[in-house]
Structure formats: C-alpha cells, structure tokens
Symmetry: C2
Subunit: 365 residues, 2 copies
Amino acid sequence: MNTSKLLLLPGDGIGPEAMAEVEKIVGFMNDEGVASFATEKALVGGSAYDAHGEAIADADMETALAADAVLFGAVGGPKWDSVPYDQRPEAGLLRLRKDLKLFANLRPAICYPALADASSLKPEIIEGLDILILRELTGGVYFGEPKEIIDLGNGQKRGIDTQVYDTYEIERIARAAFELARTRRGKVTSMEKRNVMKSGVLWNEVVTRVHREEFSDLQLEHMLADAGGMQLVRAPKQFDVIVTDNLFGDMLSDIAAMLTGSLGMLPSASLGAEDPATGKRKALYEPVHGSAPDIAGQGVANPIAMIASFAMCLRYSFQKVREADALEAAIAEVLEKGIRTPDIMAPGATRVGTVEMGAAIRSAF
Amino acid sequence: MNTSKLLLLPGDGIGPEAMAEVEKIVGFMNDEGVASFATEKALVGGSAYDAHGEAIADADMETALAADAVLFGAVGGPKWDSVPYDQRPEAGLLRLRKDLKLFANLRPAICYPALADASSLKPEIIEGLDILILRELTGGVYFGEPKEIIDLGNGQKRGIDTQVYDTYEIERIARAAFELARTRRGKVTSMEKRNVMKSGVLWNEVVTRVHREEFSDLQLEHMLADAGGMQLVRAPKQFDVIVTDNLFGDMLSDIAAMLTGSLGMLPSASLGAEDPATGKRKALYEPVHGSAPDIAGQGVANPIAMIASFAMCLRYSFQKVREADALEAAIAEVLEKGIRTPDIMAPGATRVGTVEMGAAIRSAF
Ligand SMILES: CC(C)[C@H](C(=O)O)[C@@H](O)C(=O)O
Ligand SMILES: CC(C)[C@H](C(=O)O)[C@@H](O)C(=O)O
C-alpha cells in the first residue's frame, strides 16, 4: 500500500480538539491496515502568528504543497483582532486556498434526520434536504486588486476591493458544477447579480455557454443571488447543485448550513484541478464552522464536522469510497442513538464531550 | 394646506396594479381634506425603455428631482432580458437612487401576527419579529468604477466590479443607523467582511468611531456578514437595527424579508440627506418584492407592500404620523379579518384580488 501524506493544520480555538479526534481515526485506519497515512502537523492562523509572526510559515506552505491532502481545523479569535491585516489568522487560510489553487469549494448542506428538530425552519421544509453549494474559491473580491485603504487627506479614507473574474475561472467552476450534478440529480442553479455587476453578466454568459456546449443533457437554471438567498430560506429542497462566486458562496453556503440546524456537522472540500501527469489534485478539507473561541479548551466542541471533512477527504483525495461511506454512516448512527455534544443536545439525549463523541464514532465505524 | 408633489413610477409587471391602489388612497386623502397631494405619473424600467429607449427619461428624472417624494412600483421582466446593460430596467432604479442621492435604505422586517404561519421558520422564531435593515444605497460595488467587461483576446474576457467606500459615506449611514436605533430598542449591529475586504476594515473602523464619539449611550455590535446571515436565520429577534453596505444589504434584507413569510407585505424607504436650507430630504418608497411578471395583469397581485410603502412615505416625507399609523393599522386589521390575496391565502380565509384588497384597506383606514 502506498503511503499518503496528510498535513494536519488544527489552527485556533476548537480546531485542535476537533482535529485530535480525526487523528485517532487516522491512527485506527493505519493500525487496521485499511490505509497508510503519514501525518505531519503544523500551525496556522493565530497560533502560527504567535509562533512565527505570519498566519502560516513558508516552510509549512511547502509541506502543504507537497502533501496529498490538507486537513484544516479553524482559525481566528478575539486574541488576534488587532493583528495587522496581512498577518491576521484568515490570511493563512486564504494563502492556502490561493497557493494550492483550490478553486472549487464543495459545501454539502444535508439535514441529518436525527437533527431536523434543531433547525429554526419547519421540519417539512428541511427534512431530507441534500443540496450542494459549489463556491468559486480563488477569485472574485477575495483576491482582486486593487485591495487597499487610501488616505485621501482631510480625515477621509477610501476602502477599495475589486471583484474580478476571467472566462477560464468561470468555465472551470461551471464544469465542476455540471460534473457534480451528473452524479446527483442533474440540476445546476447558477447565482450572480448580473443586474448590477459586470462580473455577473460574464458569469451568466459563460455558465450558459458551458452548459450548451458540454452539458446540454443536464438542467441549468439562473437566479439572482438575492432571490436565491430568499429561495434557500423559503424552499431549499428545490435545489440540487448551486454554483456561485466566492463572496456570494460565502454568504449562501453559511445560510444553507444554518438551515439544516446542523452547522456543527457540516464539512467542506476545496479542490484544485487534476494534474494531467499524475491524475492527482490538491485538496484541503475543513469544517464549515469557525473556531468558536468561547468554548475552546473545554472539551465540549462538536468534532463531527471535522470528522465528516475527513470522510470527504477519503472520498475525493483517496477514492476510499467504502471507508468514506462507513464513516458517514457511523456519524449518522451515533446521532440516531441520541449521543450529542452540547450544541446539538436535545431532550432525552445523552450529553457527551468532544472525546466521547469521537470515541462513539470510531466504535460505530 | 401646502400641496405636496408626489411622482408615481409604477414600472413593470405588477407595479401598475399595486400603484393603482395607492392612487386611490391618495385620492381619498385629498377628498377627505387630510392631505393635499398633487400627483404626476411617469414610466420607469422596461416600459420606459419601450417608450423612450432608456430605463428612465431625462425629463422624468427632472420631475423626480423636483418632487417631494417618489413612489416606485417594480421593474423588469423576461421581455427585457436582452436589453443592453445600460438600458436594462434596473438602470432606471439605480439612476434614481444615485441622482436623488438616496444613501439610506430602510427595510423593516416585521412579522404580521396574522401571517406568522406563512413563514418557513418555526412560529416561535419569528412571532413578533420587528427588525430594521439599514442598507447603504449609493455606494459600494453597485456604483464603483471600473465596472466593465474587457476582451483579453484568445476567447478570454475579464469582468470587473469595484467596491468603494469613503469615510464620509460610512459616517452618514452609521449616524442614520444610530438615530433610528434611538427611536427603537437602542441596538445597532454592523455587518461587513473585514476579514477579507479592505472596505470592511474601513467600515468597521468608522462605525466604531461614530459610535464612540456621538452615540456611546447606544449599543453597538459587529458581526461578519456571513455569520450575520446565519444569525438572521437562526434567531432573528436578537437584532434591532442592522446596518450594512449596498451588496450585503441587498442579500440580507431579502433574506430577512423572506423570514417573515410576508414578502408581499414589506415596504422600503430610501432617503437622502436633509437639506439644511429647507429641512427637506429627497425620498423614494418602494416595495421589497419584484415585478412578478408571471402574475402581472391578472388582478391577483398583493398591493400591501406598495400601500405600506406609501405609509412610510406619509411618515418620513410628510410627518403625517397619525395617518401612517392608521394606514398600517388598516393593513393589520384586514389581515386579521382573513382577507387575503392568493400569495398569502390560508385555510378558512377569504380570497380576494388586488382591487378588493385595496378597497378593504381603504375602508378600514
Ligand atoms: C475565515 C474566512 C476567511 C472564510 C471566508 O470568508 O471564506 C470563512 O468564512 C469561510 O467561509 O470559509
Ligand atoms: C432591482 C435591483 C437592482 C435591486 C438591487 O439589487 O438593489 C433590488 O434587488 C433591490 O433590492 O432593491
């Protein structure tokens, strides 16, 4: 069995606690002989800033570039609120996305049946929900230049950010959306604001052409991003795959995650292009939730999103479909049994901490 | 009694039907002698494009600039989907906002008790909801330059939009937010993405300073816009006034509107600065919903949002607080009585069309 290189970047807040449970699963898979993972660990975010003065050290970026997959916890917290912009915790994550060229961010929003009650939405609206938000991750207003604050004198400053999309960036994310839709229910909804943004006009035009030329057997629908946000709240099950830009994707995927009532449960995968020589693609896996500094270090964080992110890693980076399915089934089984961290506690359920939740999932695996 | 000049811009789709009910209320108030309105009417959006080749004619812009208030219906529809970008229906609305300098867009999200069931959210989450989204309306990515599509050759194009905010623009919307909060529950939540956007860094800095220097008796909280979107879905009642930029405001106010289940009921007011000489401010009032081309012309559109927008007009442009209160009470009373247009129909209620709904509100007024 070839050994695969995993880089673990636990980050800040609850990141390390959640990552510890994934490490145990990795160890378990190695021990059982179902996988051969060599793991390395490094700092990212505020903890990297404290150690190196940067949100990720150059040497660790090298390791990330050489790894078969990166597992990422979470970054940030009030401790680093006044760190300079270029060194802020998020800069580590943004550099990873950009330098690993992870243009496709997959954010499944599924509603675990055992947790349907936890949603603020009516059960009939979200029961059985299974949609996928595909967010463009290396372009748009996150990275466009100029991005600066100019001093205009007289006490006036000007803050500028630039939204930029080139045809090829829209083409590749559109293709990824249609390819994913083909493995699902065959429908793609593209969201932009073409009525006010030129990048939205181009986005709409390119997605339409890619559909017509390469995927005309699938269903394509366009929605303005504001109307799309409303439809997500009104009737989320109408969607299958939603493809959208970096900033709309940030907003819409968070809203979709919150709909499910399963925020602490939702994983994400960020993928690069396939290298034609090796057939491999760079990838980073991270939970949708943040670093939750308010509960960090108390042993109560929910590790499920981190573990589900590792399941996506098994599926997308290592084609270990059986193991990914088994890990996801183990999560669902543990939830069915009523084992719950405080964030998803319900009447009559058994309240556990991070470590017990990890152990329960390992033993159901 | 001084005569006040109202410009009516019914627009496209259901705009004219909804506006007709407001005209009757205006006529009724004139007849009863409680007001003296002189109304003019003009085209905007697709219907203006069909007539003049522009989404609003220059002469009508002059009338808008001279009016005491503008009432706006809705614009757009599939008929104009391939009209050139500069002449598209939305361009008329954007020009009105920009040329009248309507920087403050007030979007109340309230849940009418009679309609709490219509929401996709659980009743306990939205019952009694009363929040106000204050959206900056003349800046940001809507108007920043460059805004263009460049041909790069080789089949590649580049779409560019620019988000720009100057200190003074943030100061005035922040002041408006605090002044509104003072008449409400005294809490302002400012939303941006300072972790990825320089305009967000400046936004955060200026709002913080305005609070400290001028409104330190009120409560200010900051939230990242993606987290804010989630919190809106999870627990909207935690908010009082939310202040945010043009694009985030577009998304967040639509989501807030949808939460209430009362989308067809929600009004908005767009206000300019007070003229120090006259004490007057330019203003435009419009429903949050769109032109709904699918049901236009059938006499089934819900005119309540348009009528509620006129109530805001009475309140903010003409200080007719008693009349505004009475009109809003009339809407609530009609809903309590179970009189419903098809979009808000419920078991046991009485189904009516646009004209009957308008008549019912007038007779309760
Ligand atoms: C941490 C932050 C930079 C990030 C983003 O805005 O992309 C986060 O909100 C996310 O959605 O992954
Ligand atoms: C019609 C469109 C230009 C407009 C906007 O994006 O501002 C609308 O969505 C709104 O919210 O008023």
